[in-house]
Symmetry: C2
Amino acid sequence: MQFRDTDMGATKTDLFTKEQNELAAMAKAIAHPARIAILQYLVRKNACVCGDLVEELGLAQATTSQHLKELKTAGIIQGTIEGVSVCYCINPKVWNQYHALFSNFFKEVDLSGGNCC
Amino acid sequence: MQFRDTDMGATKTDLFTKEQNELAAMAKAIAHPARIAILQYLVRKNACVCGDLVEELGLAQATTSQHLKELKTAGIIQGTIEGVSVCYCINPKVWNQYHALFSNFFKEVDLSGGNCC
DNA sequence: GATTTTGATCGTAATATTGCGATGCAATTT
DNA sequence: AAATTGCATCGCAATATTACGATCAAAATC
């Protein structure tokens, strides 16, 4: 006989705390060089439309749009319809939350006490 | 006619800078709740063996070992053979690098100048 | 030396992510 | 109104990740 997990290959989120799942989701949002590049570009330029990013990144329009969607879903950017195009920018509130939560996670580890085996 | 990219579905790392790829790789290393949980446990306990984590996480031994391997590959933890078991702990040097790089990436965004559309 | 313990690795199954062409849709322009 | 522009979404192909049972290898114990 054989137990077959219905969701094999999927992350077992139920084993972890809300905080762990959320921090992992935040990390996943920026776990792609294109999304890092988008965020850096937005920080530098303050705002831009999707077409700018297609040029800047060198990815297809569909792919770029998809990465934008993921960042938007994560809440770290926002987009507003600007006539025929869409203007994207950082959501500063969420951005600063990311800063705070990652900083907190990576708080100093004390080396005193020769921490390792 | 049809162009068929030989590496469809794979990340186009060549389009991005070394820094962008590295930061994305770092984010990916912690982009799973099990790996977050492992790191938190290690910070709390200072060190542990793989078996402890299998109990703690509730994942299969093979899965736990795989996550440990990813963290080890990323450099953020290290493992030393301790008789019949393996003792894992945070690599404080790399840990602090993560802290520094993420902190730097999420530096304050200035809201002055009503940055969005 | 056989057994046990511990963890890595292999093989496999399933879901998730990445990427792109094609298409659709809404606003603007002609 | 027709054409164009800008972007989202669909559908597909391919790679990547997650998860686990089974097996293997090394050290400790019997």
